[in-house]
């Protein structure tokens, strides 16, 4: 690659200018407020982590991590997510804190990108982790909180798709003998390649009735009615237990009053090996990519030596920013206070008094020759002149 020019940034990195950042901070405040009310406490962890601990345990693929060497020669990574560092904290500093533990974060994470624009390599997330509660109600809490976060942020039209990894697994185990074939089917679902799924299905030598059931999996999405259809589709114990969970989850979510925003989707696979139960993904109207993702990950904590069930989600702030209404902030009154050198002391004291009243005051040293009128045009609501001509 050619030597970077002065205006260039590494691939996928971006600046956030004041107007956008004001909106982002505003949204973060709204989300933080919403999440805190559910008893979650905010946590912050380092930007750099050891590759051998957090890097290796993360759901993010190694080749998408920014890896570097620290002074001691250890491989470190820029944190690819916040869930893994939190698992580390819960298993170490928090190892004597009884579960359930409720934590949330608002932080930047890093994932190297190969492709072009629109894919950030550093992005901000707001997310929650609910650790040590294996009940269906914990899954429901995570999903309901996601809905309430989107509502708090002012997203008008959105949907959360909800699935369960064991339903797909159970259905496949029932119909397909070879594990390699099952993994292939999972891979197709993960890659969202339904054509490949059907083609593989047509080449397998299994009962046509089993084929119909797997084919039906591709269409098994919709409202509450799909729960009954899911039961009809399988006698497999694992899959039926997954539907039990979804049914009980739905009931809890009715309690939260959020089922209108949900879409059951039994073929949803978000990550191939990471999630262990209920998974969900959120979308908004006029936004091409998912807004949030999450689910149950009961195996992660054990990797840090404190086995515990866990669920959570992360909202992508850059995408949320695209679908939330503009800040209708009445621009705070900004005062420009001009003063000449001989009136400096009085002017600066005056400015401080105004600031204490909550006003925005910008001070500027001028000379008697300065054209004050020309300064007026910079978005100031008022200009005060402590100069000879002003007085």
């Amino acid at each position: 690659m050619a030597k970077p020019l002065g205006f260039e940034k590494p691939l996928g990195m971006r600046d956030i200018l004041p107007e956008s950042l004001a909106k982002q901070r505003h949204l973060e405040r709204l989300l933080g407020q919403c999440i805190s009310r559910w008893g979650y406490e905010e946590i912050s962890t380092p930007s750099l982590e050891y590759y051998d601990t957090v890097g290796a345990a993360s759901a993010t693929l190694t080749d998408r991590m920014f890896r570097l060497l620290d002074k001691q020669g250890h491989t470190v990574v820029l944190r690819p997510d916040m869930t893994t560092p939190i698992a580390r904290v819960v298993s170490s500093l928090y190892k004597d804190v009884p579960v359930p533990i409720r934590l949330f974060y608002q932080a930047n994470v890093f994932r190297a990108q190969e492709k072009e624009a629109g894919r950030n390599a550093e992005f901000f997330q707001t997310g929650i982790e609910l650790i040590g509660d294996a009940s269906d109600d914990a899954d429901a809490e995570a999903i309901a909180l996601a809905v309430f976060c989107l509502r708090a942020a002012g997203v008008e039209t959105f949907r959360i798709a909800v699935g369960h990894v064991d339903f797909v697994d159970g259905l496949l185990e029932d119909a397909i003998e070879q594990e390699s074939d099952r993994n292939q089917f999972r891979q197709f679902l993960y890659e969202r390649d339904f054509v490949g799924f059907r083609q593989l299905l047509s080449t397998l030598d299994i009962a046509s009735e089993a084929k119909d059931r797997l084919e039906a999996l591709l269409r098994l999405r919709g409202g509450k009615a799909k729960i009954a259809e899911a039961y009809e589709l399988t006698g497999n114990e694992k899959a039926r237990r997954a539907v039990d969970t979804i049914a009980s989850l739905w009931e809890a979510l009715e309690g939260y009053g959020v089922t209108d925003d949900l879409l059951l989707d039994f073929n949803l696979i978000i990550n191939l090996n990471y999630y262990t139960g209920v998974v969900f993904e959120g979308y908004a109207a006029d936004l091409g990519s998912p807004l949030l993702g999450g689910g149950r990950y009961d195996h992660l904590l054990a990797q840090f030596g404190r086995p515990a069930s866990a669920t959570g989600f992360a909202i992508k702030m850059d995408r949320l920013l695209q679908v939330t209404p503009a800040l209708d902030s009445q621009p705070a009154s900004r005062i420009l206070l001009c003063y000449t050198a001989d009136r400096r002391k009085k002017a600066l004291a005056e400015a401080q008094l105004l600031r204490e009243d909550g006003l925005v005051v910008v001070t500027r040293l001028v000379s008697e020759e300065t054209d004050i009128a020309a300064l007026q045009d910079k978005g100031y609501t008022k200009v005060i002149c402590l100069t000879e001509q002003g007085e």
């Binding site: 969202r192 339904f194 054509v195 059907r198 109207a285």
Partner: protein, 215 residues
């Protein structure tokens, strides 16, 4: 036509070029109101009156891009483009039109060379294929008239799509290896697949009815 609320309006990206006419014919068979305007228009965005539909006419290689970014909710595009572009989209249906094959071709007297060079419009597909075959080749990207490359010594083999094989024949080339079969697919944006699930299922259902009739 079912009445959808405005949130279910679908934007369909259609590929200009090789499969366009066949694809338009397919849409008509599926009962979509495809007007003459779509076929001979120079406009790039074409709304359909009295239906919650809108077409975007795009270069085939751009169709998956439009769909991935959500500019279009669904798209009609060849598997060759999908394999080359590797976009994050739902591949919902094989429409079984626009049939052709992706293959390796060369001069009839082709023999393995020390530093093999392959010319193609599909560098990713070619690289991946030869890697899987355990061969290291140098891939040269061309944008058209790929058949020319072996004739002028730019490359010893080419990777391209072939439907009738006439172009190859007329240039004195022969098929050496078959890589895969190519047909046209219906793809959908990840968010549209969920946010507009009713409309996407509706159109996929209509398409699904046409497919067996064509066999």
């Amino acid at each position: 036509m079912a009445v959808f609320d405005n949130a279910q309006k679908l934007t369909i990206a259609m590929p200009k070029g090789r499969i366009f006419e066949e694809a338009v014919h397919f849409l008509q068979q599926a009962g979509l109101q495809v007007t003459a305007e779509l076929q001979d228009s120079r406009k790039l965005i074409i709304p359909v009156k009295n239906a919650q539909l809108e077409f975007i006419l795009a270069k085939p290689t751009d169709v998956p891009t439009y769909v991935e970014y959500g500019v279009a909710d669904v798209g009609v595009v060849g598997k060759d483009v999908l394999l080359e572009e590797e976009r994050d989209v739902y591949e919902l249906l094989d429409l079984q039109i626009g049939y052709c094959r992706m293959m390796v071709a060369g001069l009839p007297d082709w023999k393995p060379t020390e530093a093999p060079r392959v010319a193609t419009k599909y560098p990713k597909i070619a690289s991946r294929y030869f890697r899987e075959q355990g061969q290291q080749v140098e891939v040269i990207k061309l944008n058209g008239s790929v058949e020319l490359a072996p004739l002028i010594g730019l490359a010893d083999r080419i990777v391209d799509i072939v439907s009738t094989g006439r172009t190859l024949q007329e240039n004195g080339l022969v098929e050496l290896e078959n890589i895969c079969e190519i047909t046209t697919r219906l793809i959908a944006n990840r968010a549209s697949y969920r946010m507009k699930s009713e409309a996407v299922d509706d159109i996929a259902g209509k398409f699904l009815e046409v497919i067996p009739r064509r066999k």
